[in-house]
Amino acid sequence: MNDVILKLNNVTAGYQNGPDILKSVDLTLKKGEIKCIIGPNGAGKSTILKAIAGILRPRNGNVLFNDRDLVGLEAYEIMRQGICFLPQDRALFDTLNVSENLWMAGYTLHDKKELKLRIEEVLTVFPILKKRLSQYAGTMSGGEQQQLIFARAIILKPQIMLIDEPSLGLAPSIVEQAFKHIEEIALTGVSILLVEQNARRGLSSSHTGVVMDLGQVVFEKDAKEVLNDERIQELYLGKRKSK
């Protein structure tokens, strides 16, 4: 649990010619850890994930993955190193069916037999998908799409998964299921960096919580402590008034 797998040093990033969205952010992620980033809108939560995944190129600082700097690599190269990014809008190939989506996920695997095995393995984890193999991804429900996204990611056996808003647009019971999957994935040794608007739900599945505001990390603590911290509750979790 203690070896650091991802380390952000002094990362500054922004969009095109706009202002800096991230201002000198430092962050670490350990093996098998689930880390949840919370904070108000515009705090730069999603931007961190994009900066790590290479969709946005940091202006300054470095992103060390197993002590190798990722800054400057293209998104596909970073992905091939073993970092999977799951964006908010569930980047699925809408006009391909489930089976084709899974095959496409394994595009970088050259051993097709291995890929076939892994797909079968994933289908036992997500049995619903097995029934929908020939359905177009775009026509499935939000929950099913979410499962397909997870399935697609774990086929590649990544070391890190970056998940942006897994609960977005899902019914409460489906949200529960999604977080159960996230916890299970982490148990297999995958590190997960999570951004979640539903802060309480996100933190309760995580090991550590990071609070961000105005592009900076305000503080970082054990997820339980963040949940119980009076000040945090007041500022970011919407503390309930007296019982």
Partner: protein, 290 residues
């Protein structure tokens, strides 16, 4: 009756050539979302390569296909590096990109015109004047050969896209660029490769065109509209669609050409374009769910 059948078969052969002319265009549009108005001029470049190889060295235009493909592919790579590389990186399509391709077409048009003037040319290999007779049906050899070669090239392309790794990457990129990148596809490389492949296909088509149609540099303006009508009718980015549209419209055009007047036949393509826009305005960007 035999007469009509004959016209249809001739239209079919020409349709296959048109289809090959359109596939490169569709491919580039699918992957890069660029409507390449310079595509027809690449076809012309291919035609000139085949023409001069035939005139100077007596090389059969069908055998000249690989050379024309390489020449056009290299030309495509140069044009891509100089003109489109910057734009290919941006996700957002802009009208300006179309104008860029138009400017490129004018540059190549001017260059070809400068060297070859406005002389009408046609390659005339020995079989250009031959014909097969099947019963009463008369089949000019040139049309038959060009149709068959086009068909086999299109099939080869389809197999490549269906089964090869790069082909899969091309299809994924044309479905969604972001997603392709997220599953680890080098999108920039796929764009470059598709552009070169598209231009090489234009070169192949050019070799065939060189003995089917007579050509001169300004001819490409006419082809722009003809090819666009095929691509729009077929649903932008769909190769199967473009091939179907090509065969359909070409048969129709040869019927019109026979019963009305030959010079009216291209009208079919242009009118088709308008009609599609009229009844299905989402035309080219309409979703083509399988």
């Amino acid at each position: 009756m035999i007469y009509i059948l004959q016209i249809i078969i001739l239209g079919l052969c020409l349709g296959l050539v048109y289809a090959l002319m359109a596939t490169g265009l569709t491919l580039i549009f699918g992957v890069m979302r660029i409507v390449n108005l310079a595509h027809p001029i690449f076809i012309l470049c291919g035609a000139y390569v085949a023409y001069w190889l035939f005139v100077l060295y007596g090389l059969d235009p069908i055998l000249a296909i690989p050379i024309a493909a390489i020449v056009c592919g290299v030309l495509g790579a140069i044009v891509y590096k100089l003109v489109f590389e910057k734009d290919a990186g941006s996700q957002k399509y802009s009208e300006m990109t179309v104008l860029l391709t138009f400017g490129t077409a004018m540059i190549l048009d001017g260059t070809l015109s400068f060297f070859f003037k406005n002389t009408q040319r046609v390659t005339s290999p020995s079989y250009a004047t031959d014909a097969f007779f099947i019963g009463d049906i008369f089949l000019p050899t040139a049309q038959l050969y060009s149709g068959l070669v086009s068909l086999s090239l299109i099939v080869a392309l389809a197999l490549f896209l269906k089964f090869s790794t790069l082909g899969v990457a091309i299809r994924a990129t044309s479905l969604s660029r972001v997603n392709a990148e997220l599953v680890g596809i080098n999108v920039k490389f796929v764009c470059l490769f598709s552009f070169i492949l598209g231009c090489a296909l234009a070169g192949c088509a050019g070799s065939l065109v060189s003995f089917v149609f007579s050509f001169f540099p300004a001819k490409h303006f006419e082809w722009i509209a003809v090819l666009m009508s095929l691509v729009v009718l077929g649903g932008m980015g769909s190769i199967l669609g473009a091939v179907t549209a090509a065969i359909l419209l070409s048969v129709l055009a040869s019927l019109v050409g026979t019963f009305l007047a030959p010079s009216w036949s291209t009208m079919v393509f242009f009118l088709a374009l308008f009609v599609i826009l009229l009844i299905r305005p989402q035309g080219m960007f309409g979703k083509y769910l399988s």
